[in-house]
Amino acid sequence: MTDFFGVPIQALLGQLMLGLVNGSFYAILSLGLAVIFGMLNIVNFAHGALYMVGAFFAWMLLNYAGIGYWASLVIAPLGVALIGVLIEKTMLQWLRQLDHLYGLLLTFGLALIMEGIFREFYGSSGNPYELPAVFKGVFDLGFMMLPKYRIWVIVMSIVVCFATWYLIEKTRLGAYLRAGTENPQLVQAFGINVPLMITLTYAFGVGLAGLAGVMAAPIYQVSPLMGSNIIIVVFAVVVIGGMGSILGSIVTGLALGLIEGLTKVYFAEASTTVVFVIMAIVLLLRPAGLFGREK
């Protein structure tokens, strides 16, 4: 068997694959955070919790209503987006004139509430979500096995990320959005309904988190704690990439997933901390983040 620095190549590729899957989730989540931050100027601490809610929606649809993966892929993110509309309309919009820190604190409180509610009803342990039949099994490439579902997650997340990028950078709607980020008063004066745009942006951002949750459900156990475990890493990803650029957050997310996978192979003890160490190094060398600009 071929080795690569003392590690069988199959094990290495397997871990890299897993890293890429994690990276896909980092990318979608940090993308959502960046979109929300751009328009609302708040860091959405509830992002992880809403990702968890998305996974739970998929799990509940399957187990209570018998609605399968494909329909969940649409229904669950819409449900999460609806929660987003509710949050924005009833709470976040009152904070617009205040220090941005209050948005962070409010969404932190919301994250605690959501996590608490699901823990109350489902306990802290994970619930398995059965993989749809299509995705069972692997592609045998001869030198390694590729689980079908992991390929799907990676491809899907790249498609979602680029669709979002296209929507924001290349369409008219995206142009309004970017203009609204720069100067909301002026855009409002041109007759565009900025408050509505803000609400929809928030709903879209958290909808992405919900989608990531549905995609994550068959891979990880669906548990109330899955959101808070991932969100802090995503924050580090956002600090590393900087929230200024859409492409930046996609690239950073995928790259950090890969690096995490590599670390798991060569230096397992550090795999939980490597992202934070990289964040520290980036702060030293490029305080604004790799793709960020000083604001």
């Binding site: 931050f37 708040i42 860091v43 709470m91 009152w94 904070l95 205040l98 941005h100 820190l101 209050y102 962070l104 604190l105 409010l106 932190f108 409180g109 919301l110 994250a111 605690l112 509430i113 959501m114 996590e115 608490g116 509610i117 823990r119 109350e120 808070s228 802090i232 890493v233 924050f235 580090a236 956002v238 600090v239 003890e269 939980t272 901390t273 992202v275 934070f276 160490v277 964040m279 520290a280 702060l283 030293l284 305080p287």
Partner: protein, 315 residues
């Protein structure tokens, strides 16, 4: 007004001295430790305008170091607490040096991420005993002479530390250094343009706040005989934010009041399990939406407004 203030503090001290004969000393010690923790945190958010979302790293790590020093090295309590505090100051120096490079929301995310790193280090380091934590930490004897085994004796030991920490924070806030911190909170760009080395001031404030949070954590580990992963997790960082927000950010006594309320709430609602998390989350939401001044802040606002009102009447 000045006389009112010293009278108030004297009465408060008398009440605290009498407290263990009325209340349950262990609960009171816990409340005092968290009050210290919140006041230390407030030094940063309330008086410098920096939101740290990672203060559990100081509190929890110092608790581990103090527990280890008392249990394994057999140090006397005051030295064990000193060891915890110094370790927290060290972490504060390194993390603060990194974190002050970013402002506002990024500062909060950076501190949260660094604290999570400290958490994972604590999960893996052998001396923390992972899930079990360091248990039955001996309180020892103060200066090797006075045994702290009795809860009331320990309470007065903790009270002395808390009063000392509070006096130090009061002194810092009312010093010229504290004035510079407040100017950074109000307008960082202007403070910079006036020639203050803003980043250095922020770093010193961060280290002081971290060391005092460490003092609180170390004292707590001796008082309760326990240092666990709960002390160093992100939930703890969130709790101290809530205590300060609820009591009143930027008020001297507010965080202590908020800490007491939250510790009492957790004590009485302990049986409710995850309901506590929901209630804390809801408290957060309510505070941010309609109660941003906090308990003490609101009280100050109302009393001073009434004063102004009556003055304008008499004028």
């Amino acid at each position: 007004m000045m006389q009112h203030k010293s009278l108030f503090y004297t009465l408060l001290l008398v009440a605290l001295l009498a407290a263990p004969f009325i209340g349950y000393p262990v609960f009171l010690m816990k409340a005092l430790c968290f009050a210290m923790f919140a006041c230390a945190f407030n030094l940063l958010i309330g008086f410098t305008g920096l939101l740290s979302f990672g203060h559990a790293m100081f509190f929890g790590f110092a608790a581990y170091v103090c527990g280890h020093a008392a249990k394994v090295w057999g140090l006397t309590p005051e030295l064990a607490i000193l060891a915890g505090t110094v370790s927290a100051a060290g972490i504060g120096l390194v993390t603060g040096w990194l974190a002050v490079r970013r402002q506002g929301i990024y500062f909060a995310m950076v501190t949260l991420a660094l604290a999570q790193m400290v958490y994972f280090i604590c999960v893996q380091a052998p001396f923390t005993y992972a899930e079990d934590g360091i248990q039955s930490i001996p309180r020892g004897a103060f200066l090797g002479v006075l045994s702290l085994q009795d809860d009331r004796v320990m309470y007065y030991f903790v009270l002395a530390i808390a009063v000392g920490a509070f006096a130090l924070i009061y002194r810092i806030v009312h010093s010229p250094f504290g004035q510079v911190l407040k100017s950074i909170r109000e307008n960082e760009a202007r403070a910079l343009s006036l020639g203050y080395a803003v980043d250095r001031y922020k770093l010193v404030a961060f280290v002081l706040s971290g060391a005092l949070a460490g003092l609180a954590g170390a004292t707590k580990s001796l008082a309760l005989g326990l240092a666990t992963l709960t002390d160093v997790g992100w939930q703890m960082s969130g709790e101290v934010v809530l205590m300060t927000l609820l009591g009143g950010m930027g008020t001297i006594l507010g965080p202590a009041v908020g800490a007491t309320v939250i510790v009492a709430m957790q004590n009485y609602l302990a049986d409710l399990g995850s309901m506590v998390t929901i209630i804390m989350g809801a408290t957060f939401v309510v505070c941010v939406l309609v109660f941003r001044r906090g308990i003490v802040g609101e009280w100050i606002y109302r009393t001073t407004r009434r004063d102004e009102h009556s003055e304008s009447h008499s004028a």
